[in-house]
Amino acid sequence: MNETTLRDRLLASAIQEGDLRLLPLAAEKALAAEFGLSRRDVQIAAVESRILPARYQRSLGTVGWDGQLALLRATVGIVGLGGLGGWIVEGLARMGVGRLILIDGDRFAENNLNRQALCWESTLGLPKADAAAERVRQLNPAVEAITHVVWADAESLPRLLAGSQVIVDALDTLPTRFLLQRVAQSLGVPMVHGAIAGYIGQVMTIFPGDAGLFALYPEGKSPERGAEALWGNPAATPMMIAAWEIQEVVKILTGRGQPLRNRMLLMDAEQGAVETLRLGDS
């Protein structure tokens, strides 16, 4: 690749808007084709030259130039692509997280239609991971989607998630979450935990060495399912908790804001109450 030339072409393609130089989508596509580069490589080169792909214009205020670069260079593993995971994939793709590892062995069924972002009548029967990858391609082709249509287990997870800088828990059973926390800790990366049941949901970010889920369940075991077995999961609750999880991932990757570390956000949408509770010695 001829770096100087790409930089020159980026500068020539940029549009000045106030103090900001923006790279329109058409120019991003044209430069990727011209130089035989991936869309992500073009976006990264643009941001390095302080030319912002126009799609990120409204993100800049909260993530900054270095934050956008960190997002584009990041790899995030998302385990579970149902009610939480579907929205999380969408949010992280829109923010421009460069590589998403998408893990779920399940396929869409009709009882997913009430809440799962990637479940449409047209995707019924399809593997959730494949639908997620297709959504990423539609939203932001700069994001590389690596799919694994497999069920999360102790044997596969460490291998599939290797290289992730953040792991996102979007699972739907409790015991698998303990496993995922152990995998994240063995890989030395933070895990963003989210869980939902009916009107309530919880979020926390667990760094290596934190008690995390074991602060909630000291014996490290739990029933297979919780209150969601009674209450089900309506449309709104997974959106709300997924949104918090997206923001936690972005905060970790950009180094901005305070992650919910040794704290758990607990939301009761029935009462309109959100509380942040302290865990451990924090």
Partner: protein
Amino acid sequence: MRIHVRLFAGLNRYVTNKPSGIPFDAEIPEGATVEALIRHLGLPPDEVRIVFVNGRAQPLNFALADGDEVGIFPPIGGG
């Protein structure tokens, strides 16, 4: 002593006329533990997984004090 209790995600159904998430008072003996409070309220122990006292997670053997605010949650694992 008087404890301010909130029950979440359906645990209120074990206690008469207490809506979800709305605080109510329970009268229990001085020095009683979280576990004793759960027995007093008649909650099935298997459905209680997370207990917060004054905004901090505490184990079942934690000794309560007059005026403590206790939030009790079932396990939640949906996604």
